[in-house]
Symmetry: C2
Subunit: 598 residues, 2 copies
Amino acid sequence: MERTTYCGLVTEDYLDQEVTLKGWVQKRRDLGSLIFIDLRDRAGIVQLVFSEEFDRRALEVAEKLRNEYVIEVKGTVVARSEREVNPDMKTGKIEVRVNEVHLLNKSKTTPFAIQDNVDVSDELRLKYRYLDLRRPEMQRNIQLRSRITHSVHSYFDEQGFIDIETPDLTKSTPEGARDYLVPSRIYPGHFYALPQSPQLFKQLLMGAGFDRYYQLARCFRDEDLRGDRQPEFTQIDMETSFLTAEEIQEITEGLIAKVMKDTVDVDVTLPFKRMDWDESMARFGTDQPDTRFGMELKDLSDLMTQSDFKVFREALSDGGEVKAIAVPGGADLYSRKAIDKYADYVKRFGAKGLAWMKVTDDGFSGPVAKFFNEGDWFQQITERTGAKSGDLLLFAADSKRVVAGTLGYLRTAIAKEQGMIDQSKWNFLWIVNWPLFDYDVDLERWVPAHHPFTMPKEEDVHYLDDGEDPHKAYAQSYDIILNGLELGGGSIRIHTRELQEKMFKALGFTKERAEDQFGFFLNALDYGFPPHGGLAIGLDRFARLLAHAENIRDVIAFPKNSKAAEPMTNAPAPVSNKQLEDLHIKVVEPEKTADKDE
Amino acid sequence: MERTTYCGLVTEDYLDQEVTLKGWVQKRRDLGSLIFIDLRDRAGIVQLVFSEEFDRRALEVAEKLRNEYVIEVKGTVVARSEREVNPDMKTGKIEVRVNEVHLLNKSKTTPFAIQDNVDVSDELRLKYRYLDLRRPEMQRNIQLRSRITHSVHSYFDEQGFIDIETPDLTKSTPEGARDYLVPSRIYPGHFYALPQSPQLFKQLLMGAGFDRYYQLARCFRDEDLRGDRQPEFTQIDMETSFLTAEEIQEITEGLIAKVMKDTVDVDVTLPFKRMDWDESMARFGTDQPDTRFGMELKDLSDLMTQSDFKVFREALSDGGEVKAIAVPGGADLYSRKAIDKYADYVKRFGAKGLAWMKVTDDGFSGPVAKFFNEGDWFQQITERTGAKSGDLLLFAADSKRVVAGTLGYLRTAIAKEQGMIDQSKWNFLWIVNWPLFDYDVDLERWVPAHHPFTMPKEEDVHYLDDGEDPHKAYAQSYDIILNGLELGGGSIRIHTRELQEKMFKALGFTKERAEDQFGFFLNALDYGFPPHGGLAIGLDRFARLLAHAENIRDVIAFPKNSKAAEPMTNAPAPVSNKQLEDLHIKVVEPEKTADKDE
């Protein structure tokens, strides 16, 4: 029996026609002489009606059907009676009178109902992932993701990009995140590494003259997982030769505009806004600014040198700054207790406290108001911050880094808490001209803001010379932000050996270490590499945002849980001694073993 | 300077226009006042002319250019003089008079010339892969492969297939080939395995109701490498629900027809021929028959029971068979010595010798001719084998397996040796109805002919019941053959737990072992799996055949060498003790260490 169409697509167009459908029993209502069955497939649900009147044997079969049984049916599409029309369903105006049915497979009772918004633990969802994926929401998410990849392939094809696969079994480069390793059977004590990104390979492809490369590239990072991270993830990865940063951004914008149109039918306005990294940090306290709402950071440093409030003055004399955000209507929204809670939270950014004042018709109120109700302070501060009566002013006075971290966090947290964000907006934004280096406070050393292959701005190249301070250099780099989240990033790359060696030196590499880890790449740069640059977009995150999903797990068919395990197959798992012997390795049991079911 | 077009695309269409081009210096001819440079990019080569007449400074720069320097030029397209026209080049009718040139990067002298047919070792090609990839042939191959994948994505999109990624970090299933393992940092003594194929995941996706799945899936097998194998390779992988084997074959034919049209502009005739596995083995001695030439195997068993030649009679009485191929014109082509060489070679198939006769106008000649020159033997044998005067008859008399191996090999080897194969043909063929099991002579046990998830033919399902002989069963499986090579294969899958359990039992699994290795999958089959089936095509091999390349390495950007190493990055490589500690493993040095540079 050949299927006529998907269940979810049987609309009035099929009225009075005989259709053949295949799918899963979603629901069964047995009225004795009449049985209604909701039949589900990947496109949706259609209502079947069984009755002696249509076919006695079909009715008998229907009596024995249970949820999630797989059936195929033949029947006639008829209009539902007026009062049975369901306007919320695509197939809500019709039903199918069944005259033939075949049971294709039975099902045990599922551990949870196949429907959205079921209250079931993440672990159980992952253990029975094949059932979880039957839910309409997961069907939509995975199908949306597929529409994204089809759109991406088609765009890059149009733009003359060559789809090139780079290896998954490659060499460990201990820079950056932790590698997943793969022991070699042929060379004892040798290991492949799974790629954290195809960075060097895509640059080599430019050296090889392919001019425009792209790939949907699987990447791997053995890091502790946060909400938006998975051990394996997919990048929309591209690289081009002979183009400027702006030209690469333009190609990226075309890609995003096409994907948005093809998948969620949104027309985005091109070009996207561009903002310098410095400006983004100053106005939003972050390099991933959410521009769907205001409440920007306002600098009060110049005013506060004159203030009597010691905390502000000291921060300034220590080389720091004083900034504030004005929370609209915040005076009533936030009690002293609520503010104290935030004050406690922002300690993680290094803030020693959180000064605040409420704006009233009669001046400021709050613990530090006394310092600012004299003279023209009120006028100056409200003018500078745009605060009006009823607003709450939150201040941070500390180093640039701490002020940005504190107010950047508060701005977003409060906007979310107060529903200040227009969820229908798609705010794309380029953050450009990043610093070349970033000081890592945990590692206590300078690291690349992006990666060590990033080209400095032309006028800053000299900072990498001997005797200069490389950390002053800015980079030809750019990140693409969507609604306050980094969607992807890229840069123009270094294409000469001389500059690449200087870069490694600036990062504290000895000549030997650079040679050992990246010698093959430095050698390659001897042979006429073109100027080149590219970008990578996180497919999982992009899909999550387009699907309005809460977690990237919801746009990945078979994700790992938060401890990098897969409850369905129970991976990772012990292996046989023979397998370990073949690979010339032995397990070293640590003193305390992590428990998988913890 | 924005590029006008690629070098290789500057045809007469651009006559008298100013163009901007970017690329690599392929060749430089310095005539003093006139310098010719062949400029190369991914699309091909264009001839530049520098002269004081056009621009003095450009000429000065051109004097310093060397091979593989990267430049950008501006110039005017002019027609070449009649005698300088090169009809073999797309750009052979024009040249570009350069009035501006910029040196973008220099190059050291490359270790081999950037041109096709250079005599350079495979190892050196791989070490300098970025240079090897600059060669026109490799550019064509990699670009062809990209056209294939674009064609594949577009076809599956049209056909309503959902592109779904399956995990690369998954569970080891010690069936089949050896797994690559990835030690877990979080769970000591636990390992992920890289997938040998997404088989179970794609079946689970059918259980999840996605109906039509496809993926260009990276697969991994830690096996010793033969010419056509790589440790990592890519499958065009698909799975569908509710379709018959024939319907899946039809979808596959549509895919192949589209790819052939899109990439090599060949119209293939649909549907492809279908041949039963039994017939293929009987007629060609192989399940991957090359049907571009004849020389089929002819069965003489019934005749030879009466023969006086003991070797034939004994083979038959041992339950074997006697078959022959007739080599057209072979009597003159093959000396006794040459035939002896083959006789020696076919010992690897178990053949104990190789009987042969030449057909002359006066009957048979050769060592065993004496048995067949009496009576009506000559007439009967020539009639049965189609042999004519001047042909060579080669006989195999042994078990079915040995006869097929021997004559199947000889048929192909001789056809290649004698140039009997029409290289312009694209012979696609389905081999259908395989046995469900295959006896592995090395392992001395029955193994699945495809894999343990293959559905038996409906009428053969009963062979898996207790007390019956499962090895009699045939399968609902199909391989697609192109020019004598397996391009891919697939089957209808088992979709009930009951039958899957019987299958494991027939393969000698205990209940415990089946549960341990495939328990999660058996459980899944409890929950309403639809009838389903699919297919996978080897992308690397398909690309190799379309590119007329000798080795799949030539259609992979960064392949491994024959010992699974990558000479460019030197992967696999030793890692730090810290990395091993993190992964709770220790290297066990074997007594004799393989040397990477051996």
